[in-house]
Symmetry: C2
Subunit: 456 residues, 2 copies
C-alpha cells in the first residue's frame, strides 16, 4: 500500500532485553538516600518491600537486561504493539510534518502499564511472595497489576486515589473482575490513612498518600511486597520495550523522528518511548539531533515548576529520598481527569536527563488536551486516555509549528492508552463542564519550603 | 516459541473479497417480501433507505465481492485481527481440547461491528448521502457507525434502546466523542416513537422499535439513508472477513476446527466467523464434518424457540417481510445485559442454514455466561462483552464435554468484542445482583400468534 498507516513487527523481533539508560549517562544518577540516615541506600534497605530481582534491576548499570522467557510469553499476547502514521490527523491539520504514534492501548488493561506489571508480578511470584500491595491514580496501574497478579496466582490489593475512584467506577470494576481488591485512599485500613482521614475526612487523595498506604501494608506483612507503577528505575527499564520496538518500526517506515513526545506523570511512559532514542544519541550512534519533549499538565507541573531536590516519594515519608523534580511531598495536585499525571514528583532518571539538558518540558491545561483528544478520536478513530491527550496536544503543537515554519519534520509520540474507562471525562468535556484547574500558588510555595534538608 | 498463543496474518494477506454464502447454498434463500403486496421485493423497493451498492450486495449471488480499496485502507488499521490459542483457559479447565479464539475487540469501537460500518458508510458517502440513521442495542453498532460515518464526513443519528442507553452511559459518550447524536428509543422524535410512548411512557425499548424509528427518519428525509448493523445479507457478507482470516490463521496454527462457535443476536457476528468455514463444507473442499454452533441467550432464544416464518424486522412493520426464526415482532425481550442479543428475529441466512440442518443452536442464561466471562478474563486477560460471554460459555461447555469424553477436539470461537463499556454488568454480576431473566411464555405465545399470514 502506498499510503501505509500501520507498522507491525513480527513477534520474533520483539525485544529480548530491556534498555537501561544508566549505562549511558554522562553523569551518574544521584543515589537514593535512606530516610533515616540520609546515607546512600543499600540493597538490603529495600528488601522488606521489593523482591531481590527487582532491587538488582533498580541498582543495575548494565546496558541491557534480559526479559525472562515466561514474561515474554505473556507480553507477546499484545506485543509488539503497532506503530501508526496519523495521516488523517496530518491532513486535518494541514501540516507538512509526518506524525507517527506508538499505540500501547492494545494491552488487556488498555495502557503501557502491563509492560511493568507483568515482570513485577512474575519476579515476586518467583520469590514466593503471596500478595502485592500497590497504589493507583486513574486506575491504569492498579488494573494492570490486578491482571498480571492474577496470571501468576498473587493476591493484589490496590489503594486507589479517592477522586479517581469516584470519577472512574469502571476501573474498579475491571480490577475486581480480574480478582483484585480495590480500596479508596485515604482509607481506614492503614495507620497513615486513618491519620489523614482524622484531619481531613473528605480528602480527595493523592498518589503520594496511596503510596504511603501500600508501602505500610507491605512493610507490615511478611507475605506481602509492594509494587510501584512508575518513578523508579526498574519500572522505567521495563517500559523501554516500547521505544526499542519503535526504533525498529521507524526503520520499517524508512523514517527517523526529529521530535519524540510523550506525557509525563511519574515518568515511566515517557522514559519507555524516549530513553531508547536518547540512548542512541548518548552513544553517538546517530548524528540526528532529536528533540525529546515531555508534556505535563499545567495543574501538576513537576518538571516545569518543581524544584530539583531530594524528596520523599510518598506523603507519609516512608520511602527513600530520591533526587527529582518535585512540587513537594505535601502538595496535593488538583483533581484533574488525567489521574495518572497527578504526582508531586518525577522519576529520578527523567529529572536527571532534564537537568542535563537532554530533554525539554511543556505544560498544557486539561481543556486544551481534551480538545486535542477529541480531534484525534475523530480523525484516527482511537479515543485516548486523558493522560495520553497530553501527548497528542504536544504533537499537534509541534505539527502546527512545522506548518508555520514550512518544515516537514517527523514527529513521534506515544499514545499510552485508550480512554474507554474515562468516558465520564469526555462527557464533561463535550457538555462544557470541564474546566482548567489551577494549583494554589501558596500551597505550592509552602510544600516547596518544607522539602527535607539534605546536603548532596 | 513452542507454546505459541498468537497467530497474526501479515497485512498483505488481509482478504481482498467478502464471501457470499448465497452462491453455495443447496437451496436458495426464500426472498424478502414487500410489506404491502407480499410479492418478492425488487431493488427499487429498497432505494428509499439504502444506497444502490448495498442493495446490489443484498441481492447478489456472486461468491466473492471485492472489498473497495478505501475500505481496506481503513480496515487495515486493526485488521487482520489476531487469532489466539487460549492455553491458560485450557489448563484451567483441564481439558484435552484445544481452544482457539478470533478476537474482534481490537477495532476502534471494540467489536466486529466496524467491519460492516466502514463499508456501509463509504458506499453511502460515494452516493452522496449526507446523514445515516440507525438503531443500536448495547451500543456496539451505534458507536461503530458513529466512528465510520465520521471518517467519511457523514452525520450519524443513533436510536439507542432505552434500557441499554441507561445501563451503558459510556457507550453514548463514545458515540458523541465521535460526533454522532444518540437518542434513547422509543423517542418523541418519530411518529412511531411517539405512538409507543403514548401507550407505554416507561417502555424499556427494543431493537425492533429502534429500527422502526431509524427507518422512519430515513424514509422521510431525502438526504438520509438507513444503516442496519446485523440481520441483512449485506451485513453478514461484510463480516465474513473474520472467518476468511480465521481460515488462514488456523492453517498457520497447523490445525482445523472440529467445532466453530459464536453468539447470535441478529446473526452477523456468527455468520462472519461461521459462513467461510461452512462454505468450505458446502463446496466439498474439506472432508471434515465440523459442527457449527450458534449460542443465544435463553431469555431471547429466537433459534431455539422461535418460529421459522415470514415476519417483520421491526415493530412498526415498516420493513420488508423476511423468512426467519422469530419470536414475533411484538415480542419485547427482557432487559438482559447482552443488549446486542435482544432481537426478536434472526438473520434470514442464519435461519435458512439452521432449517437446512447445517448448524445447531444452544441457549444459556446470563449468569452462567458472566461466570464464563469472568473465568475467561482471569485466565486470558481480556474482559469480554456480555454478548461475547455467550460464545465463551459455549466453548467451555464443548471443552468440558471433550474432557468427559477424553477427546482432544479443536474448538474455535469468535470473541466479538471487549466489555470495557459494560463494566456495570460485571459489577452487578460480582456483587450477586445479576439474575437470569425469563421471557413471559404468554407474551411469546401471543407474539407468535400475531405473525403475519403469508403463504410462501
Amino acid at each position: 500500500m502506498s499510503d501505509q498507516i500501520k507498522y507491525l513487527l513480527d513477534e520474533s523481533r520483539m525485544p529480548k532485553a530491556w534498555y537501561n539508560i544508566a549505562a549511558d549517562l554522562p553523569v551518574p544518577l544521584p543515589p537514593p538516600l535512606h530516610p533515616g540516615t540520609l546515607q546512600p541506600l543499600g540493597p538490603s534497605d529495600l528488601a522488606p518491600i521489593f523482591p531481590n530481582a527487582i532491587i538488582a534491576q533498580e541498582m543495575s548499570t548494565e546496558r541491557y537486561i534480559d526479559i525472562p522467557e515466561p514474561v515474554r510469553d505473556v507480553l507477546c499476547q499484545w506485543r509488539p504493539s503497532p506503530l501508526f502514521r496519523a495521516r488523517r490527523l496530518e491532513k486535518l491539520l494541514g501540516t507538512p510534518a509526518k506524525i507517527y504514534f506508538k499505540y500501547e492501548g492494545v494491552s488487556p488493561a488498555g495502557s503501557h502499564k502491563p509492560n511493568s506489571a507483568v515482570p513485577q508480578a512474575w519476579y515476586n511470584a518467583q520469590e514466593g511472595v503471596k500478595r502485592l500491595a500497590t497504589e493507583t491514580g486513574a486506575g491504569q496501574w492498579g488494573s494492570s497489576l490486578a491482571y498480571a497478579g492474577g496470571l501468576f496466582g498473587l493476591d493484589v490489593t490496590v489503594f486507589q486515589v479517592r477522586v479517581s475512584y469516584d470519577q472512574k467506577p469502571y476501573r474498579r470494576a475491571l480490577m475486581e473482575t480480574w480478582g483484585a481488591r480495590c480500596i479508596p485512599s485515604p482509607s481506614p485500613e492503614t495507620d497513615y490513612g486513618r491519620a489523614v482521614l482524622a484531619e481531613h475526612p473528605d480528602h480527595i487523595g493523592s498518589l503520594g498518600i496511596a503510596i504511603s498506604e501500600a508501602v505500610e501494608v507491605a512493610a507490615k506483612n511478611d507475605d506481602t511486597k509492594y509494587a510501584l507503577g512508575s518513578v523508579l528505575n526498574h519500572v522505567l527499564l521495563h517500559q523501554t520495550i516500547v521505544g526499542e520496538e519503535a526504533i525498529l518500526q521507524m526503520e520499517m517506515a524508512g523514517d527517523d523522528p526529529d521530535v519524540v513526545i510523550s506525557c509525563v506523570g511519574g515518568g515511566s511512559n515517557f522514559a519507555g518511548i524516549a530513553f531508547p532514542f536518547l540512548g542512541q544519541q548518548l552513544r553517538g550512534e546517530t548524528t540526528k539531533k532529536r528533540r525529546i519533549v515531555a508534556v505535563e499538565p499545567s495543574a501538576c507541573p513537576s518538571l516545569s515548576r518543581g524544584k530539583y531536590a531530594y524528596d520523599f516519594g510518598d506523603t507519609a515519608h516512608l520511602t527513600p529520598l530520591v533526587k527529582m523534580h518535585t512540587l513537594g511531598s505535601d502538595f496535593t495536585p488538583p483533581g484533574l481527569h488525567a489521574g495518572g499525571l497527578r504526582y508531586h514528583g518525577m522519576a529520578p532518571l527523567v529529572s536527571h536527563v532534564m537537568e542535563l539538558g537532554l530533554i525539554e518540558a511543556q505544560a498544557y491545561g486539561q481543556t486544551s488536551c481534551f480538545e486535542a483528544g477529541v480531534m484525534f478520536a475523530r480523525a484516527e478513530g482511537i479515543v485516548p486516555a486523558p493522560e495520553s491527550t497530553h501527548s497528542i496536544r504536544g504533537a499537534i503543537q509541534e505539527a502546527l509549528r512545522c506548518k508555520a515554519e514550512g518544515k516537514s519534520e517527523t514527529i513521534l509520540f506515544c499514545l499510552s492508552g485508550h480512554g474507554h474507562f474515562d468516558m465520564t471525562s469526555y462527557t464533561n468535556y463535550l457538555s462544557g463542564k470541564l474546566v482548567d484547574q489551577q494549583y494554589d500558588e501558596k500551597e505550592l510555595a509552602m510544600a516547596l519550603s518544607m522539602l527535607p534538608k539534605v546536603d548532596a
